[in-house]
Amino acid sequence: MGRYFSLSATSLLLASGTAGAQSSTQSVLEPAGAEAQQTAVLFWVMLSGGAVIWLGVVGLLLHAALVNRRRLAEKSASSIILWGGVVFPSVTLCALLVYALWLMPGLRPFAQASAAALRIEVTGRQFWWEVVYHPAQGPPVASANEIRLPVGEWVELTLKSADVIHSFWIPPLGGKMDMIPGRTNRLSIMATKPGIYRGPCAEYCGTSHALMAFSAVAMAPEAFRSWLAAQAIPAKSAGASGGALFLRHGCGSCHFVAGTDARGLIGPDLSHVGSRATVAAGILPNTEDAVTRFIARPDLIKPGSSMPAFDMLPPDDIRAIAAWLRGLQ
């Protein structure tokens, strides 16, 4: 119970701290997914149970200290200890444990009879998220730092890490799952309400751990399918000069942009970066200014990130690249 309480307190703090960057929720107390709903109910049941017991104990204490200060006979004192100190806690703990265990198979539908129609592979990297959609039909679709999922459908997440241990967590949708180097973890989630939710990295992974997040966008299934189909086609951005500068200054050796000669796989896939709600893994609003600032001095915005500073480029070039990237819808 202590764990749930501290988690929700932390997520409330984080949600208020990042509200400026992105108006999305990150609270386990506002569930929008099947698993999170059950976890929230479990939290309230545990909290209510704890509150009732606490009130009972404090009430007895006050009764003994203020109302009835008489010494109890040894026999009745023993029976209070037996019933209040042994039988009651054992039965109550047993009931709460049975309830929590009974929820377990539903909380983590590990091996559903029918495979999920959509599998999303997410790889944690210092300090961003590589995302590849594997729909039942059609080719895989690469993206980064944003996960979209259809409302009302189970989605299977394949979780990996390329460097250190990260942890994948979308608090309003479900519980968290570690991403461990050399290991593949699986998580099934189902969003029940459309919306944009913030997912933080939930395991300390280095200098910019706190600056590693993503947005999870739960969409109507039809809208999701047409979005995914559009993602499979290279975006066309106006401002071709920005695209040429992007290639000339070597950005393509680390970043992939579909339909261009940028074929790098070290940094985030930027094929449709203009359509994402945030940039720099959930910490900056997706505006031309923010992208410009990030290209010039990523080390100031995200200390410890692998991307070098490009402030030696002419400012106009940086701005043209940022405008072109924004146009990759």
Binding site: C94, R108, A111
Partner: protein, 126 residues
Amino acid sequence: MRLVPKQIETLWTLFTAPVVWAAHFLVCYIGAAIYCAKPELVGLGFSAVRAGIAAATVIALSLIALSAWLAWRQWGFGTDDPPHDDPTRRDRTLFQGFATLLLSGLSFIAVIFTAMPALFVTECIR
């Protein structure tokens, strides 16, 4: 040969029930972990793991019940009320019996709590 051991005075009887609890815990957790890591090693379904945990639980609870009965006997079947704090051999024996009985109760509940997930969990994590 006697069915029930003769009453012996040693501190080790105190630890019988917690040791059974620890052994049961290890059998359940290590057994499930090995099965889920290498199911082909056993070649049976997950129901075999649950049956194994059930058997281990019955054995553990029986041993703890036996330990509790021996402790109850050492405590003189409750003829004398605690505290047994006189510096006499009799009080030392009664105290140890009572403490062992309480530990047996704790271990009994703990073994049940340890085994309870097997009632609800029906498969390994894929």
